[in-house]
Amino acid sequence: MFTNLACIFRGLMAIIVLAAITVPDRGWAQTAISQAAKTQAAGHEGQFDRSIRPLLKAKCGRCHNATARKGGLDLTSLDGLRRGGESGEPAVDQSLDESLLWIMVDGGDMPPEDSEPLTQAERVLLEKWIASGSAQRELEHVVVTQHDVLPHLYARCVVCHGKRRREADLDLRTVESIRAGGKSGPAVVPGQPADSLLLKRLHAKEMPPPRELIKAGVRPLDASEIETITEWIAQGARKFDIEPDVPTGEPDPLVSEEDRQFWSFQPPVKPPVPQTAQSADLNEIDQFLLRKLKAEQLSFSPLADRRTLIRRVAYDLTGLPPDWRDVKRFRDSQDADWYARMVNHYLDSPRYGEHWGRHWLDLSGYADSEGKRSADPVRQHAWRYRDYVIRAFNSDRPFDRFLVEQIAGDELFDFENAETITPEMMDSLVATGYLRMAPDGTGSDIVDTVEERFEVVADEIEILGSSVMGLTLRCAQCHSHKYDPIPQRDYYRLVAVFQGAYDVYDWLKPTSVAGQSKQSNPTRRYLARVTPAARREWELQREKIEHQVAAVEQRLDDRRKSLRDAFITAQLASLPQELHADLRAMLAAPVEQRTDIQTYLAEKFEKRLTITDAELAKRHPELKQLQKTTQAEVKRLRAEIPPEPLIRALWDRGDPSPTWVFRRGQFTTPGQLVGPGVPSVLTDGRTPFQPQSIRGDSTGRRLAFARWLTNPNHPLTARVLVNRVWYHHFGRGIVESLANFGRTGTPPTHPELLDWLAVSFVEEGWSLKWLHREILMSRAYRQSSQLTDELAHRDPDNRLLSRMRLYRLNAESVRDSLLAVAGKLDLRPFGPPDPVVVRADGLVTSQPGTDGWRRTVYVQQRRKEIPTILETFDLPQMMPNCVRRPNSTVAPQALLLLNNGLVRELSLSMAQRIQREVAADREEQVRSIFAIALSRHPDETELAWAVESLTELTEKWREQESDAAGDVDQDQAIAPETRALANLCHVILNSAEFLFVD
């Protein structure tokens, strides 16, 4: 360490001259100039300036200059060489073998093929400069700016010496405040590292205080970080005038016009609809599809039958089997428009939002728990966001509005100063739950450092990128995207967009992990800004329950009172009759209000006439029992009081910390200072990003981002969305890589159709229900799913949509359908989720209410405990979200449906339902089972088989019953007929037809 310092001191004389000057500087572009100034001041011009810089500028400078900085690398300054690029390794280091620049040049990797290579002479020159040690000597003298130092101070110190806390009056966030110092004096003495208090404390390892590290969420500085600070102080602890790198009116040097030509980065243009075939039965979608089919001498498959269509549409829109009455109604309808009416029927169903909202909840990574930690703490109020999504789908909220609310709902209104919170405001705040869904372990102090916080931010950006933008943004977290034109700094500009709300240096903790946090404050991510109505409703509920509590307690009091009276009467019996009235009056009077006579009476008789509650209970077991049940009842009632209504929201807290690029994605290797912006390739590259705030000190950055994202001309937003809706209806996307519209994604099978849908969708006011109708009314959607040899051969992957898909129900639909046909589905919507329990044998299951089980979307969604039935049928863990459900067919599914107790129980419920609804006639029962579960009647063979089985099964159960005669057990109370019918229901619930939709 000290040899190093000695080196630095040697060069000090020259630097001190500059120390007092604030060097005007636009980005790092100017550091090379100041370097030149410095070396000149030292009286010599280095070899770098004489020969190396001109060489590198000529051969590498087109991409790796101070402004373009491809790969984060500037090779035209010593400073740039020392810092290196996104890898965080210096371009030139101690030896040739360690110098990335030389490795790339020597290996022929750089300059790239289309550029002029280095001449032999140039290679020798470069080699010598590095190998001889000249490079090292020159590199020792590069300038250290405050932005080499501040990121480390932010990560390690400002939690206690910054905005919210200012221990010892010290603020380490700016050069000025560092110089000003705190109680003990200035933190630094420019040019005098050895005398600087900051370094003394660091060297002594007193700071950050070893015993406070975990609580503060920081770790000690690395030796290299202390070295950088030392150099900065040695050079005078100067402040350079460095502005954040943000998009400007100048063309973006890293993203070319050519890059922007890729199809998905161009705004969609509505193509003309081809007139492929004339038929009233075909809509625009069909015309596009038919063109491709015809080119392959194919056409649509025949229309599916009505029963198939009804089942298809019902499942597709609501995730539930159609009610048999609806099946009959639509099947037998004489109306020519029966199909359109059916589609509308299911689109209008409240079940639609539950099913389609769930698709969106997958994308947002909805969970009722924080994840990451084994404790997986529950997120108390997350469900409001779930309800918001379901309501938004049901009311067909324009999708642009839906996105803006979710991304920047807190910036739409000045909710902090609003006199009343309107439902609209509350909705907007609840909507921001979208950006609060990532798994987050930082509720535990031990994993609450910049590193883990940044994981949360990165997950939110991943959620946003994969759900809405169709870009694999995460790649650019560590280095510029290898395939798409997304430089690393674009990623960090997005980080800056969120910095007002997600500041890794000024963190709001999520739900604390019990016993793992000293800063437990469970409401930190909650806002109490709910509507007066919501608050009143809660208060009413609370009061109602408190009334019930009072009533229950009154019952106990009354009983106690009458027993006590009886006791007193009994005791009085042994005392003279004439005293009775006076004694009773004495007992009734409060001690301090008693007359002298009463006090006298009390002294003499009170003890004999009083009895404690405990003693009373001892004497009267029934009272003891009543006390017990009352306590239990009060506890049960109070548990029903819902928690105070809070909103689990994301909001801009103003005055965000600076944003630095993290080279290699690590906060320990900070790079350039950046400001907010959007990926340049999705813009014209010359439009500044200009946030405007409408609320206090909020930055307005996310609102500007959301407005940009929902601009009608945005190249990706509408395309990504319509593609996703298409995928859910047809089982494959027009772009199969649903979350990747970049170069490594799959190209669209029908690019014009995609654009027609995207543009029309926006024109129709971003209406999802319009989109559903358009798709569902198409001939393509109404075709049969029959696979013929020809189709299997000519259109094996169904890329051309020559048929409909056949698919297995997803996890929710499996569970909800089982409940629905058994008559055990409780359709009560919304509100706190139903709890999930883990049985002793490891089975995870939700808890039923009094009216059965609610739909799966209302079951608590924890990350660690997914109900077994759902997990078995591929319900994913949200890590951080799910852009596509896996769809497996594995033996545990069979084992579950065959052996699981709940499935058996539901079969029995279904049997009892059948017995209630139809006569005891076996044929009728079989028909009814088929109708309820499969939306059709059995054919003759099926009917014969089923009736035969039912007869045999009943017979077997009768035998069993007589074998077991004498055993008294509740199970035996179930009649053999019912058991046999339950077996038949169980078979149908296990059948392929129940699980697969044509």
Binding site: I214, S444, N740, M879, A891, L896, R904, W945, L953
Partner: protein, 486 residues
């Protein structure tokens, strides 16, 4: 009912459903894509992943792995890594140096000597403390690595790292990679089995210890328990007479056949029918593999089965042997809870977990050796990290009740069995046993070495997702620890 149920269970052998057997037929059911559609139609399979045996990248040394996962962090300086310096400097404060590794800084004490005696054992003279008397007799069969390190000082991230190479959830576990790379040698059992405790308490990180991440779910670990029902839903919760089961399944098979016949060329429906058949076969195979009734008393006692303290973990270890014998590729064994997490009272809490596991582990090694399975099976033992050489105790508390905090910077793991050079000690920590300093072995090195012994190259074992080749060892530079390989 009780009596009739008992008599019913007695009527079928070992709880096996006659009805399940009835549907068996001898088809190869590794995975759906192997199937030709029953009606002769073919179309491209939806996915091409299965559990059939796969060729290795080079000749393997081991065919199967038993991972003894000692969650919590076994204390290296009290078990395998004696440090005389700790005796000499007992009580000395090193707080400032060690601060960054501390989970509970307010309870950090000075250096703490081991309360346990060490001795050299076997031909190899490997040092082991008095806490592991049974393992001490097998030191000539194991290779001890004293220079492992992890990158996080807390359980969850460190366990994720050990299982999947990164400190975050959501990525495929080592066992998933192995079953993806090698497939299974038994069509009726999962390739990757996890043995958890019978209490139903799952280890830290729960099912994420054996998840398949971005690999197809086919490769995720199947948890089994060493007592009671080994696999969820393997048997009906309410058993019904076998005749009734048979009739029901017969009707189901007929209805499904009709459904299938009306939908030619649909492989997904064949796959589904196959999954019902495999389910039936699993009921048979799993019941057999997990049935300890045919083991000799000598074997059972070798594992400590029947003794109160060792019974549970003994059963898990014996099951692990039975499973690898049956062709399971990767068995991950978790003793209950985090008993190696000896934050306090290490003088009694560490001996306690050692007593529970020492004999079963030694019994496993002896049993594998006696059956010649040491040539095929690799056994790996270790936690997610070790422990710090300093005392952990709240200020003012009884120093005798001190424990040790998590120590990720250096800890001990060991290997045994196929491909391992027995009786080896590799790597070293510093003089106080805090940091690995000599021949450091990263988690990625450890992964790569295990893959290497299985005949898999860590670079060549990848999975393409979103256009990227993902690997267990990520982009880290790794080194096979060839010094411990034979």
């Amino acid at each position: 009912m009780q009596s009739s149920r008992r008599s019913f269970i007695g009527s079928v052998s070992h709880g096996l459903q006659g009805a399940a057997l009835a549907t068996l037929f001898g088809q190869d059911l590794y995975g759906p894509d192997r199937l030709q559609a029953a009606d002769g139609h073919t179309s491209r399979p939806a996915q091409a992943y299965d559990l059939r045996p796969k060729p290795t990248h080079f000749p393997p040394r081991a065919k199967a792995v038993i991972q003894l996962m000692m969650q919590g962090g076994p204390s290296q300086v009290d078990l395998f890594d004696p440090k005389p310096e700790l005796d000499r400097n007992h009580g000395k404060s090193v707080l400032k140096e060690i601060a960054k590794d501390l989970s509970s800084p307010d309870a950090a004490g000075g250096l703490m000597r081991s309360p346990f005696q060490f001795a050299q054992h076997g031909q190899s003279g490997i040092w082991v403390s008095e806490l592991l008397p049974h393992l001490s007799q097998h030191v000539d069969d194991i290779a001890v690595v004293r220079s492992m390190f992890n990158t996080h000082q807390n359980h969850e991230p460190a366990c994720y790292k050990i299982q999947s190479g990164k400190t975050m959830p959501g990525l495929p576990a080592l066992g998933a990679w192995v079953s993806y790379g090698l497939g299974s040698e038994n069509a009726n059992l999962p390739a990757y089995v996890v043995l958890t405790s019978t209490e139903g308490r799952l280890p830290t990180n729960h099912v994420q210890n054996w998840q398949s991440g971005y690999l197809p779910p086919l490769y995720q670990g199947t948890p089994m328990r060493s007592r009671g029902t080994p696999i969820l839903n393997l048997k009906p919760e309410d058993e019904q007479p076998s005749e009734i089961e048979r009739m029901s399944r017969d009707l189901l098979a007929r209805l499904d056949r009709v459904h299938r016949q009306k939908r030619p060329g649909r492989l997904e429906l064949d796959a589904r029918i196959a999954s019902y058949e495999l389910a039936a076969r699993m009921q048979l195979s799993a019941s057999q593999a997990l049935d300890l009734q045919n083991e000799t008393q000598a074997t059972l006692s070798g594992y400590g089965i029947g003794e109160k303290v060792t019974d549970e973990f003994g059963r898990q270890c014996l099951l692990a042997r039975r499973l690898v014998e049956s062709g399971v590729r990767f068995v991950q064994v978790h003793p209950v809870g985090q008993q190696w997490d000896n934050h306090s009272n290490i003088g009694s809490s560490l001996p306690s977990i050692c007593r529970k596991t020492d004999k079963p582990v030694a019994g496993l090694l002896a049993d594998l050796k006696q059956r010649g399975l040491m040539d095929d099976v690799l056994v790996v033992w270790g936690g997610e990290f070790g422990r710090l050489p300093i005392a952990q105790a709240k200020p003012g508390s009884d120093p005798k009740k001190a424990g040790r905090d998590h120590g990720p910077a250096g800890f001990t793991v060991w290997f045994a069995g196929a491909g391992i050079k027995p009786g080896t000690v590799y790597g070293a920590t510093d003089e106080i046993g805090w940091r690995a300093v000599e021949n450091r072995v990263s988690v990625a090195d450890w992964h790569a070495t295990i893959l290497h012994l299985l005949g898999l190259h860590n670079e060549e074992l990848f999975f393409e997702t979103h256009g990227f080749k993902e690997r267990l060892t990520g982009v880290e530079k790794v080194r096979i620890v060839s010094e411990i390989c034979s």
